[in-house]
Amino acid sequence: MELFWNQVLAGISTGAIYAGMALAVVMIFTAIDNFNFAQGEMAMFSTFIAWQLIQWGMPFWWAFVLTVALSFVAGIAIERALFKPLAKAPILTNVAGFIALFAIINSVAGLIWDFTVKPFPTPFGTAPFLGSELVSTHQAGMIGVTFAMLAFLYVFFRYTRIGLAMRAAASLPESARLVGINTSWMIALGWGMATAIGAIAGMLIAPVVFLEPNMMGGVLLYGFAAAVLGGLTSPLGAVVGGLLVGVFENMVGTYIPGAGNELKLPIALALIVVVLVFKPTGLFGRTVVQRV
């Protein structure tokens, strides 16, 4: 039984990694109704910027805040410069654009900072949390910050005018424009916020997985899966999805004999597909009625 709880806790710790990324995915999906493949790379790049600032002597929290701010601005800038011109292009062309962005960011990061792993400091320390050896204070901190972001997004979308405007712009652009919402800038804002969230997620993840240009590859994949599982329009779903994926994956690895370890990822993904077949909009997603 102890092993079971150990693995659940370990799964939650890993799941917190996925949850952070999943939040960024949900954010961008809310804004543009699409996945941004480059999101992981952007988070990685932001984390490198934070690392560089710390290397240059800046204290951690200053670097953290500055990075988040820079990421926010960068997200808006990239959207305005590269994707606004593609607004009228087909969706698939936009996806190709995301892939191009991915390649560029990954390559540039590799050139500037090379591919060997770098340790990234954590403000939370790595002592056992509440005496438990399985959850370190960092991981507890990571879960805490993720929930804080979740709360922020919840309040933002539900109770602020801008949040409402953004949701309106994404789901009913025509009507939104009619009531005076600048849908174009809503998209830019969504990008900015998603990039900022990604930066925070990256800075939380790096202490665990180590910083290097390819660090987000696997994480983004899980982040997508978690976001889809939870429902692409629901920040709460993203976090719950992330935790569930982490735990489930661990369970598969621990309890399914033989190929369980090798097939952890495919089985986790298969689970998600199964869930989608029965509940296509995910666990917490809203069903959208399609009119002909």
Binding site: A10, G11, V117, P119, F210, G218, L221, N261, E262, K264
Partner: protein, 409 residues
């Protein structure tokens, strides 16, 4: 008159004899890729994709050959080092190999990296009779001169290294419970095979727990948690640098103190021990055949001094703490030696012949006592390693240099 004729005949025969003996200085023989002024060398490395951390080896080698060229080249010929990216994808490796051989017309392909990529091009290289020299992988299959006379490895094989660990553990902790965490690919599996071989029948009386992980996993922490709960005495950490570092860190966080062995691939002080944390890395065991720049013992070592000089001048961006640069230097030096030995007979056959005639050659950055030896039946230049333990901020070697082929005693 008769004397003159005699002298004439004697002189003529002497000249004829000299010519017939194939005096290398008088006769130059080239295959595609070699000329009076240039030798074109091909190389395939993963500069992008999941294995891009190894790309630094290619960069080190390019810098090394630049240094050689600045010093006048080899036997008066400059090295033209052509290196391509295969992103660790076998079909791409095939394409790049064909490009190098058929389009760029190189003399040979040197230190191509990765077991899948090298497996993909092995048949082609041997069919085309182009040397696939000093491949950058420790898989045991490269030492097969009978079937693949144009393919040669360089570093000690993974299996050989694993055998050394097995023998060590049999002596130090007989009957132990050993947890083997391994990367689920050719690298990891080869070690597991070697380790079991080294233990012998009945796993040498040890209990083995095998746990694999995938390269796509962001973090292997959960595997460490699982293994700890099974309370093994030994953790055999068969992982590539990033994952090895994660494991070392997690083991320390969990306050777990097993006998912890990492593979030679993950012993870079800069690339593994530092990110994992020096505190966490105390007592970790491994084996080495290369010198480590962080080891104070080599501060005044002439070989390492040359390496440092080289890095400062030709690869200032490179990290001396990164074991891959030390590796790249050593392999490049070995190729330079082989080409030098080939003299003016730069046919592919002769290059292979010289490569198979290394007799105790010791590159600057290889441990003293480790000697490169090859023969027509032995295509494994390095088979020696010395065990080491991480202490303070560097590796401390102990014991003798062990010949991996008999796995030590």
């Amino acid at each position: 008159m008769r004397n003159g004729l005699a002298y004439g005949v004697a002189a003529l025969s002497a000249i004829a004899l000299a010519l017939a003996s194939g005096n290398a200085l008088a006769q130059k023989k080239y295959d595609t890729g070699a000329t009076d002024t240039d030798i074109k060398i091909g190389n395939i490395m993963p500069y992008s994709g999941p294995a891009s951390a190894y790309g630094v080896i290619g960069k080190t080698e390019a810098a090394y050959f630049k240094m050689i060229n600045d010093k006048g080249g080899i036997n008066g010929r400059k090295i033209n080092f052509v290196t391509y990216d295969d992103g660790y994808s076998p079909p791409k490796a095939v394409e790049q190999a064909r490009k190098l051989v058929e389009s760029d017309e190189v003399l040979l392909i040197f230190n191509s990296l990765g077991t899948p990529s090298n497996t993909a091009i092995q048949k082609y290289m041997n069919a085309k009779k182009v040397p696939q020299l000093f491949v950058a992988t420790g898989a045991s299959k490269w030492n097969d001169p009978k079937n693949f006379p144009w393919t040669m490895g360089w570093q000690p094989s993974y299996q050989a290294e694993a055998i050394i660990y097995a023998k060590y553990l049999l002596k130090e902790k007989p009957g132990a419970k050993v947890a083997i965490l391994y990367q689920n690919d050719d690298f990891g599996k080869d070690y597991v095979i070697g380790f079991k071989k080294g233990l012998g029948a009945n796993n040498g009386g040890m209990t083995l727990i095998e746990e694999s992980y995938e390269v796509t996993e962001p973090s292997i922490d959960s595997h460490i948690v699982k293994l700890k709960s099974l309370e093994p005495d030994v953790l055999l950490n068969i992982a590539t640098p990033k994952f090895a570092a994660q494991a070392i860190k997690k083991v320390a966080e969990l306050n777990w103190k097993p006998i912890h062995v990492v593979t030679n691939v993950s012993t870079s002080v800069g690339g593994v021990m530092k990110p994992a944390g020096f505190e966490a890395s105390q007592g970790v065991l491994s084996a080495a055949y290369l010198k480590d720049w962080s080891d104070p013992q080599w501060k005044n070592d002439p070989g390492m001094k040359k390496y440092v000089e080289f890095m400062d001048k030709y690869f200032a961006d490179g990290n001396k703490l990164d074991g891959f640069t030390v590796y790249g230097y050593a392999v490049a030096q070995t190729l330079a030696k082989v080409l030098e030995m080939a003299g003016d007979d730069l046919t592919r056959a002769n290059v292979m012949k010289q490569a198979a005639s290394l007799n105790g050659f010791s590159p600057d950055t290889v441990l003293p006592g480790v000697k490169l030896t090859t023969s027509a039946t032995d295509f494994a230049p390095i088979s020696q390693l010395q065990m080491m333990r991480f202490k303070g901020e560097t590796w401390e070697r102990f014991g003798d240099i062990i010949n991996a082929e008999d796995g030590g005693s």
